[in-house]
């Protein structure tokens, strides 16, 4: 290890220090919200600056185990944005329930540190360690409302299935290491290319591929490995759900990019059918089950499964020969982050008062009770539906375009995705129906959230619009971040 290595991973190091600083500040003034939030958000701002300083540079640290490239920069920025937004939304929810904001922020920043490390990992072992660093705090966050049996139940399910899937993934990684003799991503890719050229692919690789696919599919919540998602999402405190629905999901796709595209790219013809089947099953089942949900958190959980399916279409398009599929994944991940966090933020705002459920009836008459909140929720839901010209529309359009370009079975997958998108309109618009076409329940009180919360909502709303009206700004970043062009 040298000082230049530390320089390369500076954002990760700073993030760890920020998490520690949050805990120290809390020791100085326990129970005070403002200093915590200022430290956390200010610290994350520093992290963002350090990432932006690295933008455009490439490099590697620790003998190639960690790589700094545009993909790392893009994903790191996204993770920092996720963490900052979560902290902005969390205060108004945690405080009335007597849950500590300091621990929450620290654990969250640790989780994001793990995610940032995943983004830059180019070594199978580091990838695994980083993944664990990302998900372990996630289990803690899911069970953050210790007194709430649902929160605990969701956390236990998430923990058990999550650990199980980590073990499966590790098992798969072991196969790859055993066969190729290296854990470096580029080394694995080179070894596989040579093996393919010599026609000497070993059957063990298929085993490894199967285990790794299952492990990553668990993390992404792809069908049929999605069973932990609805319970974990519904049981968790709502700001945590907002984080879980985007943070670990984008993280899981970061693994897919580094592992499947980076290391196992030469085998893409072999994993393409798997991804196609996963994508088709994931979006279809996610949507069908979401239609029947009466709880908005649970509905958004199933819808996030469906969105995993759409993102997988982009991965499949890459395997089908269209490198632009990966840019589409990144665009989708970023667009989904803002619109979905926005939707969860509105749910959070409504649940500010303890005891308010996330049932769809809570939304009755929101358009009249709180026009701004209602309009924002409508914006996020329309974007999630994919109505142009909003963020979610371009996300889908780019994925579909890549799939259509790849042709063959992928065109059929594109058609299936669009039929699914039409079905999804039903459950998204159902919430709009409640907000605008039903009378408010009697006891529903106005939910005036704090200034920070409003700022967070404004960020997600403006991002949804900017992604929608000026997608070229974002595609410039996603195309630069697509380091796998050729």
């Amino acid at each position: 290890m040298s000082w230049s290595d530390v320089g390369t991973i500076a954002p990760v190091v700073i993030a760890v220090l920020v998490a520690a600083a949050v805990l120290i500040v809390d020791m100085g003034a326990p129970g005070h919200r403002e200093p915590i939030v200022v430290t956390a958000l200010g610290g994350l701002g520093l992290v963002a600056v350090s990432i932006l300083i690295q933008a455009g540079h490439t490099g590697s640290a620790f003998g190639g185990a960690y790589s700094l490239d545009n993909l790392t920069v893009f994903l790191d920025m996204l993770f920092v944005a996720i963490a900052a937004l979560t902290i902005m939304f969390a205060g108004d929810y945690l405080e009335p329930r007597g849950l500590p904001i300091a621990e929450f922020s620290a654990v969250l920043i640790f989780a994001v540190t793990g995610a940032m490390l995943v983004a830059g990992s180019t070594d199978l072992l580091l990838l695994f360690v980083a993944l664990e660093l990302m998900v372990l705090p996630g289990y803690m966050l899911a069970g953050f409302a210790r007194q709430d049996p649902y929160s605990t139940e969701g956390a236990i399910k998430y923990f058990l299935l999550g650990s199980f899937s980590s073990a499966i993934l590790l098992f798969g990684l072991a196969y790859v290491w055993g066969i190729t003799g290296t854990t470096r991503v580029d080394g694995v890719a080179a070894a596989l290319t040579t093996a393919i050229a010599h026609g000497s692919i070993q059957p063990g690789l298929a085993m490894g591929l199967a285990f790794m696919s299952a492990g990553v599919a668990f993390k992404m919540a792809a069908v049929p490995f999605h069973y932990w998602t609805p319970d974990a999402y519904q049981g968790s405190p709502t700001p945590v759900t907002a984080y879980l629905s985007v943070g670990p999901k984008v993280g899981a796709f970061a693994i897919a990019l580094r592992l499947f595209v980076g290391a196992l790219g030469p085998l893409k013809a072999d994993w393409l059918p798997v991804v196609i089947v996963l994508a088709a099953a994931t979006m279809t089942l996610g949507n069908l089950v979401a239609i029947t949900q009466d709880n908005v958190k649970r509905m958004l959980a199933y819808s996030s499964i469906a969105h995993t399916g759409y993102i997988l279409v982009g991965l499949a398009a890459y395997a089908g020969g269209q490198a632009s599929g990966l840019s589409a994944i990144l665009f989708y991940g970023a667009a989904y982050t803002f619109m979905n966090m926005g939707a969860f933020a509105v749910v959070t705002a409504l649940q500010r008062r303890p005891g308010v459920s996330s049932q769809i009836a809570t939304f009755a008459g929101l358009g009249r009770r709180d026009p701004w909140l209602g309009a924002l929720m409508a914006l996020f839901l329309l974007s999630l539906t994919g109505i142009p010209p909003l963020a979610g529309f371009w996300a889908k359009a780019y994925v579909i375009l890549a799939a259509v370009q790849a042709g063959g079975w992928l065109s059929a997958l594109a058609v299936l995705a669009m039929i699914n998108a039409a079905a999804a309109a039903f459950y998204y618009l159902r919430v709009v129906v409640y907000m605008y076409m039903r009378e408010p329940a009697e006891e529903a009180a106005p939910s005036s959230p704090g200034l920070l919360f409003r700022a967070g909502l404004a960020v997600t709303g403006v991002a949804t619009l900017i992604f929608g009206f000026f997608p070229a700004l974002v595609t410039a970043a996603t195309n630069a971040a697509n380091v796998f062009h050729g």
């Binding site: 109505i387 529309f393 359009a397 998108a421 309109a425 618009l429 076409m437």
Partner: protein
């Protein structure tokens, strides 16, 4: 002339929506008048456009193009030919009439309603002026949201069901259309050495199609996707089932726009995109589509006879009338196509007027059941006279515009399919049956018990209501007597359409 007149017309309502959004909700009258002012402004500008276009050469004019997403050659590209100009004028005309017609009936959440209406107008005009397929798709989807809200918030008792049905039907079609549009652009890109420049440009794509750029199998798939989207919107039999529900539940002005403009979006899409881009597929499916059109014409008329509800009756008659439009498009004859386009305009004016008239009755009775009506001719003489006028126009009385459109479709299709033309002429008799029978039950006889019970509420039309109907009536007479005003504008688009469809143009 470098004035971006198309953008001005398209986005004037958007500016109006923003202005209305910042007005205080406590002043509904100010909101109503501001909305009307912007709708009228857009209308006046569209009339200027019509005049400017009519006294100039044919083809796409007033073009504007700005790069939007250069990586894929997607542009903000607009331009109009005679067909688009007429559709834009139809849209702006019906919009201000609808806004005016909403002054009385809409009392709840006026601000949201008026914003929805203005945004709706942006989408509708945008569809007619867009010459970039992607832009077209975006405007197409923008139309959906405000209409969803208008039906769902300000509609009748069963509004939520109706509006969801409307949205889901439309979305299934339009999302498949998106796949087809992307696939078309990609096929163009492949055919141009991987360059995306012009891949979404309608004029470029059409030239590419004319040179046989799109393969036969590709055309079949892409055409089917576009056709489904447009057929649902028209709506063609058997995709029409959302229409009666949506019409019945929508507020009056919503029904006017739905019948007057939204259905035309589908027909416009067929004429502008589906046939010229995929001529081989259009010919392959011409006969099945002609048969579906005739079924729609006959079925719509027969079902109209038995409808117990005034609005539902008018809605089903729309299915029948729009059948003439699709028939006129797919027989590939210049006369029939001009008739079909004229029929689009006529249907917008006549059916729009009928919905307004039904709305007048509903305002006073809060009922639309035909069986409960009767004897209105004596109590509401002005209303009954105007209603009779629109009924006769809808039934195709010579001298009024409804006759000309349908007649041209007959003449045009007779040379190609005499049997089909004959079958659809019988429908004229059916139309007279259901329309006049309905008129008789509503207007003649003694005042029904139900209406007697309303007493003094049953006043005749007021000035606002007349102000919404008189312009429509005047246009119906003018187009009935001087259809060449419109037909002259349509000659060039019709020839371009047939040339693109690969049909030799005679006469």
């Amino acid at each position: 002339m470098n004035l971006p007149i198309l953008s001005l017309i398209t986005f004037t309502p958007l500016i109006g929506a923003i202005v209305v959004a910042v007005l205080p909700s406590r002043r509904p009258d100010l909101i109503r008048r501001t909305t009307l002012a912007f709708a009228l402004l857009a209308w006046v500008m569209s009339l200027v456009l019509l005049a400017a276009y009519a006294f100039g050469p044919a083809g796409f004019r007033f073009n504007e193009a700005i790069d939007w997403i250069p990586a894929f050659g997607i542009q903000y590209r607009v331009g109009v030919d005679g067909l688009s100009v007429l559709m834009v004028v139809l849209t702006t005309t019906l919009t201000w009439i609808s806004v005016l017609a909403s002054f009385g009936p809409i009392e709840d959440r006026v601000k949201g309603y008026m914003i929805s209406f203005l945004v709706l107008e942006v989408g509708m005009i945008g569809v007619f002026v867009a010459l970039d397929l992607f832009l077209f798709y975006i405007f197409w989807e923008i139309v959906l949201v405000p209409m969803y809200l208008i039906i769902g918030i300000w509609g009748g008792a069963n509004r939520v069901y109706a509006t969801m049905k409307f949205v889901l039907y439309t979305l299934v079609g339009s999302l498949l259309m998106l796949v087809a549009i992307l696939a078309t652009a990609f096929a163009y890109q492949v055919g141009h050495g991987g360059s995306w420049v012009g891949a979404f440009d309608y004029v470029q794509l059409q030239q590419f199609a004319a040179t046989g750029g799109f393969g036969d199998n590709f055309q079949i798939l892409a055409f089917l996707a576009l056709f489904l989207a447009f057929a649902i919107k028209v709506p063609m039999f058997p995709f029409h089932t959302w229409l009666p529900d949506a019409h019945t539940e929508a507020p009056t002005a919503g029904s006017v726009i739905l019948a007057g403009v939204l259905l035309k979006l589908g027909a416009y899409g067929l004429i502008r995109f589906a046939v010229p881009l995929y001529p081989y597929a259009a010919h392959t499916f011409a006969w099945p589509i002609i048969v579906l059109s005739v079924i729609a014409i006959v079925y719509g008329a027969i079902v109209s006879i038995v409808q117990p509800d005034l609005k539902r009756l008018v809605a089903y008659s729309s299915v029948s009338h729009m059948g003439f439009v699709t028939l006129g498009i797919f027989v590939f004859s210049p006369t029939a196509l001009q008739g079909a386009i004229l029929q689009m305009i006529n249907h917008g004016l006549i059916t729009g007027g009928l919905f307004l008239l039904v709305g007048v009755i509903y305002e006073r009775t809060h009922d639309r059941t035909i069986a409960k009506m009767g004897g209105l001719a004596a109590t509401m003489p002005i209303w009954s006279t105007v209603f009779g006028f629109f009924i006769l126009a809808s039934a195709g009385l010579p001298g009024l515009s409804g006759f000309v459109g349908e007649f041209l479709v007959f003449v045009g299709s007779f040379g190609i399919a005499p049997g089909i033309a004959f079958a659809s002429i019988i429908v004229m008799v059916l139309a007279a049956t259901y329309l006049l029978w309905m008129f008789q039950r509503v207007a003649f006889g003694t005042l029904s018990d139900f209406l007697q019970g309303l007493g003094g509420h049953l006043t005749d039309m007021n000035r606002t209501e007349m102000a919404t109907l008189i312009p429509l009536g005047v246009l119906i007479v003018v187009l009935g007597l001087f259809p060449s005003v419109v037909l002259d504008l349509l000659r060039a688009p019709a020839q371009a359409f047939l040339a693109a469809a690969g049909v030799a143009v005679g006469g």
